[in-house]
């Protein structure tokens, strides 16, 4: 009896919203195929998370428990999930395109001898052969590819926000205890320490001021900070973000990076300063309600996707803007 399986993830100990999105995607596919949808919770103590995911209409929740699964060690998780997949031979395996998903899914796909498609936006079943049709953006989002792969399980990772989160239902899923055969020897990479850093969550901002390659000096970020302070008086939570080149230069940490490999956000207002608008960046901010672009090049792409544009050097415009905002405050 083959089923659809999805990997449950937690954020700060609680069920992550991306898992609810996977449940939505998985439930629809399972219904279409007439198979059961199940989920797996991985850890050394899985009960709280398994219980919190049990009220979303899944048939079964596998509790994959082992002392080596404490915290997140990619080799241990891949090993445990490989063991489970061999026990239950799922037909489809869905994983979020998250930090955990990116680490686990490729390793697991190799071990299960199947082809993974990452970062999918949409999934459907081919009525002819029953294979999963996987839709994913390529060339940074300049094209949308729909592809099929042979191999079982049919395996994908799914982009955050691609599906609506599932709502709770009245019934409860069956909880199934599973103890994987795991041995310490599979862990070849040793974790020495994790250093917590202050991490900015740009998706919590009402307004994001983002700096790009056009920013010529590190000191100029003070100008942007002054603008953020001035705007925060009327615009709520204003945060500073950036495009990839700024992180490459070491001027900002990667938690502030907006784009395909950074945060994908949709604030009320997005102010792009000195950002030309490479597609990888646009993917991260195009759903912003209002987009304001400041750039010296009137032909740049950012103006093509902006609602409001100012062709001006930021070094003169921003101090003048801060002055005006402070006067009229």
């Amino acid at each position: 009896m083959s089923e659809l399986l999805l990997l449950v993830e937690a954020k700060e100990g609680l069920l992550d919203k991306t898992t609810l999105e996977l449940i939505r995607a998985g439930s629809e596919l399972a219904k279409e195929l007439g198979i059961d949808a199940a989920a797996v919770v991985v850890g050394n103590e899985t009960s709280p998370l398994a219980e919190s995911v049990a009220s979303y209409g899944l048939k079964k929740i596998y509790k994959l428990e082992h002392p080596l699964l404490k915290g997140f060690q990619p080799e241990a998780w891949a090993g445990a999930l490989e063991w489970l997949a061999r026990q239950i031979t799922p037909r489809i395996f869905l994983i979020s395109h998250s930090f955990v998903g990116k680490e686990v899914a490729p390793r697991l796909a190799y071990r299960l001898n199947t082809e993974l498609t990452t970062d999918c936006l949409n999934l459907r079943i081919d009525p002819q052969d029953g294979l999963l049709i996987r839709t994913k953006p390529i060339y940074g989002g300049n094209a949308i590819a729909a592809l099929k792969c042979a191999g079982l399980p049919q395996m994908v990772t799914v982009r955050k926000n691609a599906f609506e989160p599932m709502e709770k239902v009245a019934t409860q899923s069956d909880l199934v205890d599973m103890v994987p055969a795991l041995d310490e020897s599979i862990i070849k990479v040793k974790s020495l320490k994790t250093v917590k850093e202050e991490v900015v969550e740009l998706d919590k901002a009402n307004m994001v001021i983002a700096a790009g390659r056009g920013i010529v000096a590190k000191e100029d970020f003070e100008m942007l900070a002054a603008l953020a302070r001035a705007l925060s008086k009327s615009q709520g939570n204003v945060m500073i973000g950036c495009s990839r080149p700024v992180v490459d230069k070491g001027w900002m940490s990667s938690d502030r990076q907006v784009g395909l490999t950074g945060s994908i956000i949709a604030p009320d207002v997005y102010i792009a300063v000195g950002i030309s608008g490479a597609i990888q960046h646009l993917v991260g901010m195009i759903r912003s309600k209002k987009i304001i672009a400041i750039n010296t090049d009137p032909g740049c792409n950012m103006f093509k996707v902006a609602d409001v544009g100012v062709v001006e050097d930021y070094k003169t415009l921003i101090p003048a803007l801060v002055k005006k905002l402070e006067e009229s405050a």
Binding site: Y139, S254, I292
Partner: protein, 264 residues
């Protein structure tokens, strides 16, 4: 430790920084047409930079391996100009449009042919398909440990010490050698290569091996192509931009300030 042997996998792709207006989709032929020069995939450049820093600190050899369609040595010789020692191109019609497992398989054949190595570095993902799998698959095929999303890499005796980006900050991990590490952009940009240095290098005769199916793959049956069902253009992103005009920067700033006032 002895001098270290590093292999960097670098993919040639059309410049991903190109304006979206230079990219079109041929729906019939299921092809993406990019009007842009070819470059080295940005994260692979970060991987090369990480390799060069290790070599500077402890000596060693860097071999760049590039698999692709019409791989050009003028694009890839930049890796030599920046500090790599050898370049090997892998090209064959049979290697075009391969799925991730097959790409990793061909690379693993090439690496086995090279023989001795201590460290393999790849970018975290390629700038065209953004799959982010080949590095980890390659490590599985070679049966060596893999660490992803490195922001700093150090060799300490016979071990590799990596700071990797994790959601709460960073994690310090280590493994024995040989190992594979995928590199993220926090490592830093590839060092600047001057035009004159690049031109000089292009004039210099250099033997760049080009390997194809017959050199690498016993079992061509194992190579699988991507099965594209359809290819479509993305939803239109364009908006009608209202340009704020003014004779002085202050005038533009004042108008922009009133725009914010209306919002607030």
């Amino acid at each position: 430790m002895k001098e270290i042997n590093i292999i960097v996998c670098a993919k040639q792709i059309p410049d991903p920084e190109v304006p979206f207006s230079n990219v079109s989709v041929d729906v019939e032929k299921k092809e993406v047409i990019v009007d842009a020069p070819n470059v080295i995939s940005p994260y692979d450049e970060n991987a090369l930079e990480a390799a060069i820093r290790i070599k500077e600190e402890m000596g060693g050899k860097i071999t760049v391996l590039s698999l692709g369609r019409k791989v050009s040595d003028t694009v890839l010789r930049k890796t030599i100009a920046a500090g790599a020692d050898a370049l090997i191109l892998i090209e064959d019609p049979a290697f075009e449009r391969l799925d991730s497992n097959s790409v990793a398989y061909v690379l693993s054949c090439a690496i086995r042919k090279i023989g001795a190595y201590d460290l393999i570095l790849t970018g975290r993902q390629a700038g065209d398909w953004d799959s982010g799998q080949v590095g980890l698959l390659l490590a599985e095929l070679l049966e060596i440990p893999s660490i992803s999303l490195a922001r700093s890499i150090k060799i300490k005796e016979d071990r590799v010490l990596v700071e990797k980006t994790v959601p709460v900050g960073y994690e310090v991990v280590e493994s024995g050698l040989p190992a594979l590490v995928t590199v993220s952009n926090e490592v830093g940009e590839l060092r600047y290569v001057s035009r004159s240095k690049m031109m000089g290098l292009l004039k210099r005769p250099m033997t760049i091996p080009k390997w194809g199916t017959k050199d690498l793959v016993d079992n061509v049956e194992r190579l699988k192509k991507i099965q594209l069902v359809e290819l479509s253009p993305p939803p239109d992103m364009r908006r009608a931009c209202l340009f704020i005009e003014g004779s002085t920067p202050q005038e533009k700033a004042d108008k922009l300030a009133s725009f914010f006032k209306e919002l607030g």
